[in-house]
Each structure stands twice: as structure tokens, then as C-alpha cells.
Amino acid sequence: MTTPNPTPARRPRREPSEALLATLLLLPAAALLLGVLLFPMLTTFRDSLYLNKLTEPWLQGFVGLKQYAQMLHDARFGQALRNTLLFGVLTVGGSFLVGIPMALAAHLPGRTRGLARVALLLPWAMPPVITGLIFAWLFNAQYGVFNDLLVRAGIIDEPLRWLSTPGLSVLAMVVTIIWKTSSFVALIVLGGLQGIPREMIEAAQVDGATPTQTFFRVVLPLLAPSLAVAFIFRTISAVQVFDIPYTFIQQAPAQGLLETLGVYIYRTGIEFLDFGYAAALSVALFALSLAVTAVYVRFVRDGANS
């Protein structure tokens, strides 16, 4: 119907007020978040104040912050925290070093563009557990292809025991996580690249800038907001990393060097059945995620003001 309604100012139905409508529209999401996630979250905070160990059921009850104090003397927690931070720094940094060139390559026009985009998305979409399994096989000491390639290239003489040698296992895990997560950085950078007007790049070229100069002086500054977003999401996921270390530890069970906070929480709760301490560790990990975000928000705000 294109003819305008001749009776003015009469709406067919009474519209609800905007506030009421907003409430109604937010209701399903709020129900899902509050109904499914809020209660477990609050339970975690509460549990962290209570002793609750299934293996010692006679020791139960309110202990206040005692389990938080316990962390300070827990060498295993210290190690897991150090591992998590080390993996975090290496894998976040590494995923940017690999992800930015990946995005630049995928941004190139040409016939292989679709294939390049699939190659870029595949690691991102691959289940982390499966990524862990695949790389455990690639790094296999006896029959692994990485060893084979390194021997053939003459870089090493003997196959390396990647997963059971302390330093090498860390390297293997870092490589795996970087492979898996560079895609995410690349995707966000690719979005940033697509938002840069061609004229700006052409103008720089007309002024005689080399491709390297154009990249560092024009492209990179324009990408800063995208990079900041990628940085925060990558850091939070790095702090919480679980699936890949979990799969690797199954292949090299005795390795404390591979245990991240996420894995330690899982073992404390599920294997040692110490629910109270697992909850306290969980709150610590949540606090770490919040701290990372707070630092980032401050950084972005300062960046915006300057």
C-alpha cells in the first residue's frame, strides 16, 4: 500500500513506551545470561570462601580468605601462573607477528583470494582440541613430520623429543597456539585493511613513498584501533588457555612446564576434587582477565586523548 493514511495522528495500535519495549527486548538475553551463567559465577565466588574437598569430607566449612592465602604458598600455582604469563606473552606477540603478514597476503587481489581466505579461516575454525591432537602428531618424536623436515634440511642430526623435553615442549605448544590464533588477529586486521580508503595509499605512493614506508607510516597507524581490539581479545583468551595445553599434557603427562592456570583449575576441581580451592583459583584467573582488560581500557583511553 502506497497511499498515505488520510486520518492523521491515529496509529493502528498503541505503541508501548520505549522503556517498556527495551525491557521486553532485553528480557530473553537477560534470562539466558542470568539464568545459566550468573548463578554459577556467584557460586564460584561463594565456594572460594569455603573448604570443600571431596577427598576429605570431614574438613568442610567457612574459611574466609584462607584459600586465597594458600595460593601464595602454592608452588604449583606459582608455576602455573608463570607458565600462563610466559605463554601469553609469546603467543600473543607471535600471533601478531604471523597474523599481520597473513592479513596483508589475504588482502592481495588475485585469483587465489578465495583460497587464501579459506586458509586464513581454517585454523580459527578448527576445534582447539583437534588442533592440539594434530600438532602432537606433527611434533611426534619418532614419526613426526617436523622432525623429518628438520633432519632432511640438515638442521638437526637426530629426531628431537619435542613433547617430552622441557624447553622443546614449551616451544611446540607456543607454535601450536600461534598457528591456531594468528587467524583471529589476521581477520581483525583484514577488516581494518578493508576500511582504509585506496586514495590514502595511492596518495602516499604518488608522494614517492616506498611500499615499506607506506606500510609503516600510513597503513599501520590507521590499523591501530583494530590492533587494539585484537590485542585485548587475544590476551584474554591467552590468559584462559585450556584445550591445547590439556591435549599436550595427555601426551607428556609429567610436565609441569605445560600446566597453565586453566589446566591447574581443571585438575584441582576434577582430578583432586578440591572444589573450594578450584573456586578460589578461578576467581584469581577472573581477576587476572579483568586486570588485563582494565590496563587495555586505560591504554586505549590515553591513546584516544593524546
Binding site: G110, R117, V118
Partner: protein, 282 residues
């Protein structure tokens, strides 16, 4: 697609470009291709060093074993059901919420958005035990809702943020025009805003689907009955206590990954632009 390939590239530049693309494609596909090759070999062929790169004959028996040693078809059906239903539930909740956050005059809008983000910062491993108790209390363990509800809720923040970015990008005038023509606010949403943001909805739906398909920890712990297992847990069931039958595991990995590869290949163009448009502004 427009082709911007400039003709005045030097040979070195052409070579650099080809090398960059080749590195990306090989790097992305290599682990998957290697699993494919491994899955076609016999245990005997694997136990060689230097590695034998190609199988001497194509041996598909590992694929038959994937389905005969574990109920993998059932795992597949379970993953598909759980992922599809969590996607539907999540998007059904995310669309109206994102519309309200992007378009209506809400007091405390910034606070609400912050709360949404905060929900995504709680580590999943920390929710495992309390969620387990919740599901056990509700008698939902070993059922589809035991996974659908948390998956939909866990993906809701990213779904909402993606859609808020999309809705914000649609000119308000279009809605205003529709409402002047006598449509209600809800009518403007369903008839104007939603059709225009279809790419955003597809992007958000794919995000939720991939998240749900890949989830491991909750699936491992909540649905322990063999007939209720999902694919991501299923692929880990072929390893014995001390042995890793790699050709068999590789075949399971390939079967589990093929749907994702197809999904990406079909949606790659729309997905990359949608994900970046949504993700960056959120």
C-alpha cells in the same frame, strides 16, 4: 570482485606477492592435509623414519574403523543438533537485545554493554563445577539442553556485540521513514532493520555455530554417556591408555573437520566481511 592487480609490478614484487600467498595457503592447510595423508596410511607405513610422505596405496579402512569402533555417526548427529539449536536460541535472544542496545534510548546503555562484555570474561573452566551442579540439579545431564543452554549463553555476548555493530550501521532515517508510514517500532525492526542486517545475523550465527561445534570441556563433563558424546570429545576416544593409533585418530580428525572446511569455503566471502565489520566496531 574488482581486480586491482596493477600491471606495472616488477618481477621481484610479483614473486614476493606469490610467495606471501603461497606461504599463507600452505601454512593454513598443511596440518589438515597431513592428517588426510596420515589417515590413508597403515600403521606399518607410519612407523618409518625418514617419513614416507605418500601412502603406497589409498587405504580407506581407517575411515570405516572410525565409524565401527565408536558411534561416530551418532556423535556427528549430536554435535549438529546441539550446535544448530544453540545457534537458534542464541540468535533469537541476541537480535532483540542488540536492537534495544543499538537503537532505543536506554538509560545505562554503556553499563549494560559493559555487563555483557564482563560475562564473556569469566573463564569457562571456572564455570564447569557450578554449572555441573546446576545441570545435575535440573536433571539435565546427558541431555541436549545440558549443552545447548550454556553454549547459547556463552556465545551471547559476542553475538550481541556483533549485532549491535551491524544495527548501529543502518541509517536511522530508514526506520523513521517506515514509522512515519505507520509501522510500529517492532514492525520497523522486523521489516526494515532485520532484512538489511541479514549479513550480520549470518555472521553472528556462524560464530555461535563454530563456538558450539568446537566446545570440548563442558561436552566432556556433562554428557558422559557414549550415545550423547559430541564430535570434539569423540575424536579423543580413539586413543588407548598408552597407545595412539594415529591413522585412526587422523581419520576421525578429518571426518570431524570436513564440515567446518565446507562451511568456511561456502561462506568465506560474506563471513570475512561480516566478521570484520562487526568485530572491529564492537
Amino acid at each position: 570482485m574488482e581486480e586491482h592487480t596493477p600491471e606495472n609490478l616488477s618481477p621481484a614484487q610479483r614473486l614476493g606477492r606469490a610467495a606471501a600467498l603461497a606461504a599463507l595457503i600452505v601454512g593454513g592447510f598443511f596440518p589438515f592435509i597431513w592428517m588426510l595423508l596420515t589417515s590413508l596410511k597403515t600403521e606399518g607405513e607410519l612407523q618409518k623414519f625418514p617419513v614416507q610422505y605418500l601412502p603406497s596405496k589409498l587405504d580407506f579402512s581407517n575411515y570405516a574403523r572410525v565409524f565401527s569402533e565408536q558411534p561416530f555417526a551418532q556423535f556427528f548427529f549430536n554435535s549438529l543438533t546441539v550446535s544448530l539449536l544453540s545457534t537458534v536460541l542464541c540468535i533469537a535472544a541476541a537480535v532483540p537485545a542488540a536492537y534495544a542496545l543499538a537503537r532505543l534510548n536506554l538509560r545505562g546503555r554503556g553499563l549494560l554493554l559493559t555487563a555483557v562484555v564482563a560475562f564473556s570474561m569469566f573463564p569457562v573452566v571456572s564455570l564447569l563445577i557450578p554449572l555441573f551442579r546446576l545441570m545435575r540439579g535440573a536433571n539435565l545431564l546427558n541431555t541436549y539442553p545440558a549443552l545447548i543452554l550454556p553454549y547459547a549463553a556463552l556465545s551471547l555476548p559476542i553475538g550481541i556485540l556483533t549485532l549491535v555493530a551491524f544495527f548501529s550501521a543502518i541509517p536511522r532515517d530508514l526506520e523513521a521513514a517506515a514509522m512515519v508510514d505507520g509501522t510500529t517500532r517492532v514492525g520497523a525492526l522486523t521489516r526494515v532493520v532485520l532484512p538489511l542486517s541479514a549479513p550480520g545475523v549470518v555472521t553472528a550465527a556462524l560464530l555461535v555455530f563454530v563456538n558450539s561445534w568446537n566446545e570440548f570441556l563442558l561436552a566432556l563433563s556433562f554428557n558422559t554417556k557414549l550415545s550423547m558424546r559430541t564430535v570434539s570429545v569423540g575424536v579423543t576416544l580413539y586413543q588407548g591408555e598408552f597407545a595412539f593409533p594415529w591413522p585412526l585418530i587422523a581419520a576421525a580428525v578429518v571426518v570431524a573437520t570436513v564440515p567446518l572446511v565446507l562451511l568456511i569455503a561456502i561462506f568465506q566471502k560474506r563471513f570475512v566481511s561480516g566478521l570484520t565489520a562487526g568485530g572491529v566496531k564492537a
